[in-house]
């Protein structure tokens, strides 16, 4: 993307290109669909306001993801101050989706990981960022990314070996409203 385009055009282009990626990242790292939608909006408002400060030291997507992470931290903090805030909502399940249970099963697995494991799994295995890019976004060393991913993968494999039981409850015993 040309760094010389104006902020409005850049915002429109980045929104068009990355809105779904931002949404997925926010949704899988926070586990909260409502918060994730708010994050998407806030991210691109910040892009508009900060585009003139983007110097091109990193790739535009990496720059965007730093904004995404900062938004998630700010908004999660704000939400945690509200009395009824809950970390993971169930609205994700409230409407039918074609990919149904497989989707929810994988989301459930992610939710059981620690925040650091979740971050690295989402960036490396779902969003397909390189180790170097992931390290830049998270502000970690590349070796920390590799080590953390390795441990996260071990935990995931262990969960899968246990038959996809989530929080001790077999998937087959759980009901999902709105899903046939």
């Amino acid at each position: 993307m040309n760094r010389k385009i104006d902020a409005a055009t850049a915002t429109e282009q980045l929104y068009s290109l990355y809105k779904h990626d931002v949404y997925r990242y926010a949704r899988y790292t926070t586990g909260d669909t409502g918060l994730s939608e708010d994050v998407v909006q806030e991210v691109f408002v910040r892009v508009l306001r900060n585009w003139d400060k983007f110097r091109g030291d990193a790739g535009v997507k990496t720059w965007l993801w730093k904004i995404v992470r900062s938004c998630i931290v700010d908004m999660a903090r704000k939400q945690s101050r509200q009395p009824d805030a809950s970390p993971f909502d169930e609205t994700i399940r409230s409407h039918g989706s074609q990919s149904g249970n497989a989707l929810f099963e994988m989301e459930d697995m992610l939710k059981q990981l620690s925040a650091a494991y979740r971050d690295v799994v989402v960036l490396r295995l779902i969003e397909d960022w390189s180790t170097h890019e992931t390290a830049t976004i998270l502000g970690w060393s590349e070796s920390k990314v590799k080590t953390t991913l390795h441990r996260a993968v071990q935990q995931l494999r262990s969960m899968m070996d246990e038959g996809g039981n989530v929080n001790g409850v077999p998937r087959s015993a759980r009901t999902v409203p709105g899903i046939e």
Binding site: H20, R24, E37, V40, L48, T91, S94, H95, M106, L125
Partner: protein, 228 residues
């Protein structure tokens, strides 16, 4: 590739998308922010271009609003005399009882109800009910289609069909999606936000006949009017 098996397991998560209705709402917010950004104090050499651009957008919005006589969530309510008398048009008619039922059900789930007045052929309201299974919403059932209305953006992610951005006659953005459901019955969906109401029109095949096509779904969506 490293951890290929896990990447494949997680593939299902890569298909999730921002819900269309929320996408529309965010785009509106961003457009407002962009207009504010463009209208801020600027250097003299850019001012004329920027104001010409803002002026064009404002004029276009005004023309659409006047021509259509209806507004959406981020605009001020239209004066009541700009809304066409709805009962006199279209091939879907409502009795006073139909309207009272819809109003009652909508009130129960805090939804501002809209009614379609045009369908592919003459039709009538078969049933209306409020449900709290999932997001609280009302479900209006007609012979050839159903209309779901709710106050909270629906999560329409995960669909495997072809999704397409479409526009109503007044320029309102909507999303059209069609696919075969788990029983291999063709389904077409159209998502649109009007005011504070998130509306999903579903044209289902099966006993009622083939799924409605895009033009038919748009015809229904274009005829949606707030319940009076």
């Amino acid at each position: 590739m490293e951890y290929q098996d896990l990447r494949e397991r997680f593939q299902v998560l890569s298909n999730v998308q921002l819900p269309p209705a929320k996408d529309v709402a965010i785009e509106r917010v961003l457009q407002l922010e962009i207009e504010k950004y463009r209208a801020r104090p600027l250097r003299m050499h850019r001012r004329s271009t920027v104001w010409r651009r803002v002026g064009t957008v404002t004029a276009a919005v005004a023309v659409v609003a006047i021509a259509v006589g209806m507004v959406t969530s981020h605009s001020a309510p239209a004066p009541s005399n700009t809304v066409a008398p709805v009962t006199a048009q279209g091939n879907i008619q409502y009795t006073a009882k139909n309207k009272a039922d819809v109003a009652q059900q909508a009130q129960a789930v805090n939804v501002t109800p809209y009614l379609p007045y045009e369908g592919p052929s003459a039709d009538q309201l078969q049933d209306v009910k409020a449900t709290t299974d999932g997001e609280p919403r009302i479900v209006l059932t007609y012979k050839q289609f159903t209309v779901q209305e709710q106050a909270v953006s629906a999560d329409h992610s995960g669909g495997t069909g072809i999704s397409e951005t479409v526009y109503l006659k007044d320029g309102t953005k909507a999303f059209y999606n069609h696919f075969n459901n788990q029983r291999n019955i063709p389904v077409s969906l159209l998502f649109v936000q009007l005011g504070n109401t998130y509306i999903t029109i579903q044209g289902t095949g099966g006993d009622a006949g083939p799924a409605l096509n895009k033009e038919q779904m748009l015809q229904i969506a274009n005829s949606l009017k707030p319940l009076k």
